[in-house]
Symmetry: none
Subunit: 206 residues, 4 copies
DNA sequence: AATGAATGAGAATTCATTCAT
DNA sequence: CATGAATGAATTCTCATTCAT
């Protein structure tokens, strides 16, 4: 608590209030009141309300991205069907975990929408596109290996992204009492089937 | 008749501006300027900025809902696999069509996000839940008939909603140049496979 | 008074307050309080505090400039010494008059100083340079005609400008009880002598 | 010694920034950043932003005043016309020199304007009035001695002050590339002629 | 003496809404 | 119905100054 800096306090408060009221409706005065500091103190640490929002988001997005970047490589990895399934499961689990560990910021981002040319468009679309790109890349490899079948990987990656993202939104934010293990299993199952996964795959080659 | 024109002009202008700038950033002055009427005239037709937004959204949502309500009943209808597929395809096509026919309002809604306790939370969550409910209902019937297999229909309906919704968002708003026929086909294919659809289904019973 | 528009009222109040407190120390709230309108009303007419200041200044400067432009042409006009003297006197009188007729704005401008790269530098230096240019031009003609003698007309024009300007400042703003007729006479006398005016000039040529 | 350095550094920085931005636009934070000390350190040496400005100005003004006080006594001194001219020249040269030696502070003062009831009014008007008084005093003596002729010495002193001051402003701050020797000569010439100086003056009396 | 985080009063500006004409 | 000037509450951000370390 002694090590709890003013800046950190402001960030914690900002996340709380942003989540409750949304970016537009949040007043800097709400944040500082919650953090228990003076109005001016806010501006010693952040240039503006937008700045603290960006800082919060980018911190979260970086975490998610680096995790997903690291993990996505192994999305459809594996020499046998069961190995592949295990890997897909692992990636899904990792994504779930990181959202859960940062639920407050995740919710805040989900709630803000994709915006209109301002700060949100940039943030959300950036995340959207990065994820899709990574998914697409892995899907392409899997298609080439004959693991899955899909007519157009770009479209397929949108399917996966939408499915993941809204599922996370719904079960972590709107309906919070779901068994995540079951959810993970079902996501994997649905996706693999949807992608015509070759459950008999057992290549020794490669 | 004069009344109708002015009000209609305001709505058209409001949709245009809301879409470009979002609800919060749109000024009543922008709308009236675009519509070519005086500031005060706005308030002869709408109680507030929120009121016109609601009116726009509810018009759209009603259209979507009534269409989907009417259509969803036949989601997995059919006595043979190919009949079912045709019906699923029809529902998907209808949803796509109605979004495309109301692209401006659809985009406006997508951009607003799910909000935080205010007007949008209500609007978006209302739509989200209604759709899911209808999908769930149909899915349940299909599961009972042995047409599809899914562990939990609630979860399954979230999958479908997420997949539909983000796909529409991506290909109608962010990346507008996609072949919608291919997209429709792929959605149906992905979803049916994901739901372990019985492609050999050919029941004469029922 | 009925025809006294809100905008005019704001300008009149702004001049009064700017004069009393200076641009920087004047608050928009001072102006609107003085004008008896609401804070927001100010912004229906002026984009900012700077905008109203500019509008006030430019109105004054335009008046001064157009008068001086029209008059300066005849600065050293005349075929005999006494005609020339009369013309110089007339120009000086005109300048005095226009300052006196717009004493409030004139004072306001004098008080603001030449500024530092912002609004004032631009306004004051613009005025300074225009006047000097016009004076220089007329001086050059007078030198060519042998009417006056001065080594460098640019420098001479600075002398005249400084003399005029600070004299106006002192006797119209700081020490307001001076006999302006005497002052005019003395200015003309001082300047003509300073410029080695040929009091015997009586050319029939030209 | 350490104290001296810090205070001196603050003054040097303050002059630089005040000159660039003017008093109002200068931030204490600008000054301390430029001086390389902490924000709080400023207040170990100066009670306020105004205090450092005053200290800077008063230092300069004292120098100018003491020099002018000392010199002005000999303004129109001399037993022959050429002696008088030499003395006038000397005074003018001294004023020019002291401004040039303190160009930074001089510019800063010039830029601030005469202000409106605040700090500048006091500073500028004080300087204005002192100079005029001293000039007036000397002029009066010169008039009594028959050296020069002017209807009203108060008015004459304003002429001289304005001429000197705006000339310094123009050629030292706005247009910096002028030959100051020529300028000095021309000022003396213009002023003496303007004052109907008796170039034949050669009194043995007195 | 030096530091620099914290302060908080204060200023400009915005904009939805009202209402007299 | 239409108008558009007037309103004023609300909000962001600034910055001189203080003070505990």
């Amino acid at each position: 608590m002694g090590e709890f800096t003013t800046k950190q306090a402001l960030i914690v408060s900002a996340i709380r209030i942003f989540r409750q009221k949304g970016f537009q409706m949040t007043r800097v005065s709400d944040i500082v009141a919650d953090a228990g500091v003076a109005q001016g103190t806010f501006y010693n640490y952040f240039k503006s309300k937008e700045a603290i929002f960006r800082e919060i988001c980018s911190g979260f997005i970086e975490k998610v991205q680096s995790k997903f970047l690291e993990r996505s490589e192994h999305f459809f990895d594996g020499d046998t069907a069961s190995e592949v399934i295990a890997n897909v499961q692992q990636v899904v689990r990792d994504i779930f975990r990181i959202y859960q560990d940062n639920l407050d910021v995740a919710e805040l981002l989900f709630r803000e929408g994709i915006g209109n040319g301002g700060i949100f468009k940039e943030i959300y679309e950036g995340m959207f596109l990065l994820f899709m790109e990574l998914i697409e890349e892995q899907m392409l490899k899997a298609v080439d290996r004959g693991l899955i079948h899909i007519e157009d990987v770009r479209i397929g990656s949108v399917f996966l992204f939408g499915l993941f993202e809204r599922t996370l939104l719904y079960f972590m934010i709107i309906q919070k009492d779901t068994d995540l293990n079951q959810l993970e299993r079902m996501v994997v199952d649905f996706v693999l089937k949807g992608l015509s996964f070759d459950y008999t795959f057992n290549a020794k080659t490669r």
